[in-house]
Symmetry: C2
Subunit: 316 residues, 2 copies
Amino acid sequence: MNSHPTAVVALGGNAISRKGEADTIANQFRHTRESLAAIIPLVKRGYNLAISHGNGPQVGNAILRVELAREKAPILPLGVCVADTEGGMGYMIAQSLQNRLLHEGIDRAVSAILTQVIVDRNDPDLANPSKFIGQFYSQEDAQRFAAERGWVVKPDGDRGWRRVVGSPTPKGIVEGPVIRAMVAGGAIVIAAGGGGIPVYIETDGTLEGLDVVVDKDRASAVLGREIGAQTLIILTEVDQVALNYGKPNQRFLSRITISEAKQYYAEKHFPPGSMGPKIEAAITFLESGGEKVLITSIDRAGEAVDGNAGTTIVPD
Amino acid sequence: MNSHPTAVVALGGNAISRKGEADTIANQFRHTRESLAAIIPLVKRGYNLAISHGNGPQVGNAILRVELAREKAPILPLGVCVADTEGGMGYMIAQSLQNRLLHEGIDRAVSAILTQVIVDRNDPDLANPSKFIGQFYSQEDAQRFAAERGWVVKPDGDRGWRRVVGSPTPKGIVEGPVIRAMVAGGAIVIAAGGGGIPVYIETDGTLEGLDVVVDKDRASAVLGREIGAQTLIILTEVDQVALNYGKPNQRFLSRITISEAKQYYAEKHFPPGSMGPKIEAAITFLESGGEKVLITSIDRAGEAVDGNAGTTIVPD
């Protein structure tokens, strides 16, 4: 292993797709190129790097296509849809980064690797799934699909019913050792896309897919531990984490410890499905040997790495 | 690099999907597991290995889903569809092999890597594309899509009209050095799935996707050269290559030289779209430094490696 510091950068959903905008591949490529503004400063500072990314809109579209083609093309299980998005998105990110590095005159290998994330088949989250995926249905259709296909369905606000799946806690990365060796060798590795392809370990030790999804920030924390990263960088839509977010007494945080993060988490400053999983991921990463977590926006990532922007979370 | 011999194994289309059978994911996983019968003997003989695979049925289904969902989900270009299949199929093959190695008590890392294959934007094949992809249309629909979407369409036998794309000659593998390092380190790497994601090099040196497909055997030959493989193993539906295939004077070939292969190729013993590209791939591989090409079936691969089955092609 070389002596460079190692970081995992988790690209947020907005790094590739934007709400309220046509989700064309041209737009996805454009946003991907823009999001490299967060990666290049790390490359220039000599970091060994793994890059993870979300896949919310893409896997939603993949599921929608499978549904609309149900009578004419094989039904793909959710895990294979996630794997497909690791393919298409890994390609987009890898090629965009390869091109940018060429322009910057930086010679670094880039590659995207299919990643399976290990979860516990008895994870308590699976008994009461709450992660909405795919399209909206009428109550009648949703309940019929539940009966016919074994789905769990629930109403999602006022817009109708949707399928829900579990979002269990990631425990390990099957390809962890390979990714570690590649990253230590200087390659920039795109891994754990969409939180990884969820698998559990059978009693005989073999791997088996599971129709669930894993939060990409939590998977990134586990990936970071497995590759020996000192730093986890979680990119999101805001420059800094805030207490009382969006309220008159909102206060941005520049630097906090794990204990403070846990206290604010307990005080419900960080909503589930938004900042909550990022803070959970940060705590997991630091408690398993990580040295520093940065949470910031794409635009401020370079400054954040230098300690001049973002929210830094450190051990006590 | 360790001192083990290195091989590329190209899994045929029938390794994962079978004609005349429902193309469910369960069946695809089953055939994938069966096809490992060809891989395990090589692992046991200590080979460093890269595995490539076709994606014909899978990319056909991906294109069909995109078409059927055109009004509701983003249109994916052909290159992204290929990347998606590298994701889903790479996952299936990797997990199946990981499980099989566990049962065999063999400790080898396995991982699937997204692979871009470099082609020439001015490849003569692009001027007269002939590779049919996707579904059949009426002549009227096909010609409308040609006008609206810039497709090239042609009649495909009696069943209707289809889109045709180019199948240019592969020139290189973008991820070649990374794959070479991984394979040399002992990992079994699934790469160049579906012939790789086709890209060309712009005048400024950057990579750009192209809506074409690359033959997976020809891509495997280039991959073999780039990772320094001595042996290329092309798995197909027949145990041996034949002259006068299917005719009364059919004669199976056990061992031939490049010169003989070229002569038989010129005599049109090897049909395009079938044995032809495999022989071309064999010649490319041997002329660029490869030592041996085996063409055989999944069931005979183990014997073929020991020189007791299949067709072996060697330099003069």
